[in-house]
């Protein structure tokens, strides 16, 4: 790849470049090439944004003085449904405000520590060249402000964080954010830019234990995270807060990791990163599935979205995604592109090692055709199908997994509404639900690929097992729900 780029670059030296391909320099020259002279014009007040938003690209050809005003605020914020945590924030949210400057800019930084804060704080920006990254010059008592100035010599995407003792605790309480130093010519234009930052949290209570949860120092030292979160809270990137894009657009994510401890295996389910600026560096890798984001590191990923649907952002160190909260969503709207992704083509199920159960299913299907199917036959067929389609999550015993997959055994939610349960299997389920008094807020994928008979059998089995007792579900009932409801666009598997 590198040699092709080089060849292109040399080619363009002697003939006009093809319109679509910009010449790619082999080196940026690093910090030595980062000084474009003294700032020009009046100082500019930086526009700062909260995640997932990113300030607009810089439209400037000259270096400037950019004034950044960042206020540290300590406040109680929800990190999960019913769970509060005392966050120490750069700008009132976790992660902190996104800062965008241009290489060569002179950044005049003002760090304000709110008078009601309990702690002194400072800031170490990884974009700073100089000992401590600004930490030494920005150490600020509550009710005070400090100021320091630096020149952004290196382009790239950088993490900033608090570096006040005990550093780990300040970071664990949410004190991190990102600063982008654009190359002088700007970044290649894209349709969408978003800001996603991972962090790990350590609470005295268990995952999703309700109430105000104090920081647990011991768990932090043991690197035993209670939560691993995108943008500081469960749900900050799901449901109504999901990232948005349209088919045909190019999406750029600035992905940072505040830590304090864990390295992220960042992945978007159903997408391949067309370009990853590995470690936030300048020259991209192409065609990447999963990329590491170091604690205190950042990366930039870009991809075109061709197929509508929901793409799930995860830390592919996967228990963190399903058991600690590291889930986000990108919703892509637009027309289907069946050439790229067909959706379901073969309408038959794979039931794994069910052996002789296949005979049962065949028998039921035959009996049904003759109009003689019994409840018992349906239950037997349903049990076989359940093993292949549902038990991975809800468990063969129907008990589910506390806090992650709700139970079907004895489920008040399931038994309350037959039509709704058909809809759940067909269309999946996202968002908060309460089952037998416990709250769940996760994602069940739609299973439209199951045919009407199969869904009828499965639900008949589920409604008559593990203490549940209800009437049969017929294929007709399933067909009705199927024809009156829509699956969410593009089901993620």
């Amino acid at each position: 790849m590198r040699s092709i780029l080089l060849a292109l670059a040399t080619l363009t030296a002697c003939q006009a470049p093809p319109a679509a391909v910009a010449p790619v320099p082999f080196t940026t020259g690093g910090s030595a090439a980062g000084d474009f002279g003294p700032p020009v014009g009046d100082p500019i007040i930086a526009e700062l944004t909260n995640a997932p938003n990113v300030p607009p690209p810089i439209d400037r050809d000259e270096p400037a003085t950019v004034v950044v005003n960042l206020e540290v605020v300590e406040k109680v914020m929800p990190i999960s449904e019913g769970v509060d945590y005392t966050m120490w924030t750069f700008g009132g949210e976790v992660p902190g405000k996104f800062i965008r400057v241009r290489q060569g800019d002179t950044v005049e930084f003002h760090l304000q520590n709110h008078p009601d804060n309990r702690m002194p704080h400072n800031i170490d920006l990884h974009a700073v060249t100089g000992p401590g990254g600004g930490a030494a010059s920005s150490f600020t008592a509550p009710g005070h402000e400090s100021q320091f100035t630096f020149q952004a010599l290196n382009q790239g995407i950088y993490v900033y964080h608090c570096a006040t003792a005990p550093v780990g605790m300040h970071i664990a309480n949410g004190m991190y954010g990102m600063i982008l130093v654009e190359p002088p010519e700007g970044l290649p234009p894209v349709d969408r830019e978003y800001y996603v930052m991972q962090g790990d949290f350590y609470t005295v209570g268990k995952y999703r234990e309700k109430g105000l949860q104090p920081f647990d120092m011991q768990k932090a030292i043991e690197e035993n995270a209670t939560y691993v979160l995108f943008n500081g809270a469960e749900g900050s990137l799901t449901g109504d807060n999901a990232l948005q894009a349209n088919v045909g657009e190019t999406v750029r994510l600035f992905v940072g990791n505040g830590g304090p401890n864990l390295v992220s295996s960042f992945h978007v389910i159903g997408e391949i990163f067309d370009r990853v600026y590995t470690d936030g560096g300048t020259f991209p890798q192409e065609n990447v599935q999963t990329t590491l984001v170091a604690s205190g590191g950042a990366t930039m990923v870009e991809f075109d979205v061709e197929v509508p649907g929901t793409y799930v952002l995860v830390d592919h160190s996967i228990f963190r995604a399903f058991n600690k909260g590291a889930i986000g969503m990108l919703k892509v709207d637009g027309p289907e592109s069946l050439g790229v992704y067909s959706g379901l083509e073969l309408d038959s199920i794979y039931v794994g090692d069910l052996g002789d159960h296949e005979g049962i299913i065949a028998a039921v299907t035959e009996a049904e055709a003759g109009g003689t199917v019994t409840l018992e036959q349906q239950i037997a067929a349903g049990e076989a199908l359940f093993g292949g389609s549902c038990s991975a999550c809800h468990q063969t015993t129907g008990t589910g997994v506390e806090g992650v997959f709700p139970p079907l055994a004895g489920s008040d939610f399931l038994m309350a509404d037959k039509e709704r349960s058909i809809g759940i299997v067909l269309n999946g389920l996202t968002g908060p639900v309460t089952v037998n008094g416990s709250d769940y807020n996760s994602v069940m994928p739609p299973m439209r690929q199951l045919n009407d008979d199969e869904i009828a059998h499965i639900l008949t089995y589920v409604r008559n097992s593990w203490g549940n007792s209800g009437d049969a579900v017929t294929a007709e009932e399933v067909a009705t729900v199927r024809s009156t409801t829509d699956a969410p666009a593009g089901a993620a598997h």
Binding site: F139, A165, M217, I221
Partner: protein
Amino acid sequence: MLWWLAIAAAGDGVAIQAGSYEPLYPVDPAVPRTFVSSFILDATPVTRADFSAFVAENERWQRERVPAVLADPGYLASWSGPTEPPAPLDTPVTEVSWFAARAYCEWRGARLPTEDEWEYVSRASEDSLDASKDDAWLARTLAWYGSPRTAGSGRVGQHAPNAHGVHDMHGLVWEWVEDFNNTLFGTDVREGGDAETLRFCGSGTLSATDVSDYATFMRIAYRSSLQGKYTTRGMGFRCAADQESP
């Protein structure tokens, strides 16, 4: 001096027995424990009522008169008048500079405690003079440092005294000490600092004796962020005095 004795007689000053404690940053790493002579320490932080009496008698310490080099604009900023603190009056006075705190103690014939004295007394739990290895107690003190900020603080003396008989060393306010800039985190807490500069400039996290004593870290970090004229809404003080030789 008489004034001080009167207060002490009223039970406000506690005689602290001589002893030793393990500072986070010992002057000489080969000598981990620092000796502290006996002295007298206020049982509770100085209250708003106490401080109001002081500024009433010492006009130059009133908000409108105090020179800017001795107290920043936050000095007694929440008071409604020169001698009128907000209620409740038996909560610790905050929004006071180090200069003002010293002046108050001097007025009483006393002084601010040294960092060693303060830290020594602060290591005691309710039933042990040195609880610095008691994980449960450490976790309890840390909880306050990590708890949500609150606009005000509680009344003084509401909780059980520690084994020295002193109240509220943790859980109400930060407190000034005489040599607050002694253990400087100076610049950047993560620098190690070599033996010679350890005490005075770059003493960093890397050389701390007990890296799990996060609460002490925070106190030292807090003190290092201050200048003598600074005031904050969360910082008060109490006074100390030398033990009269019998």
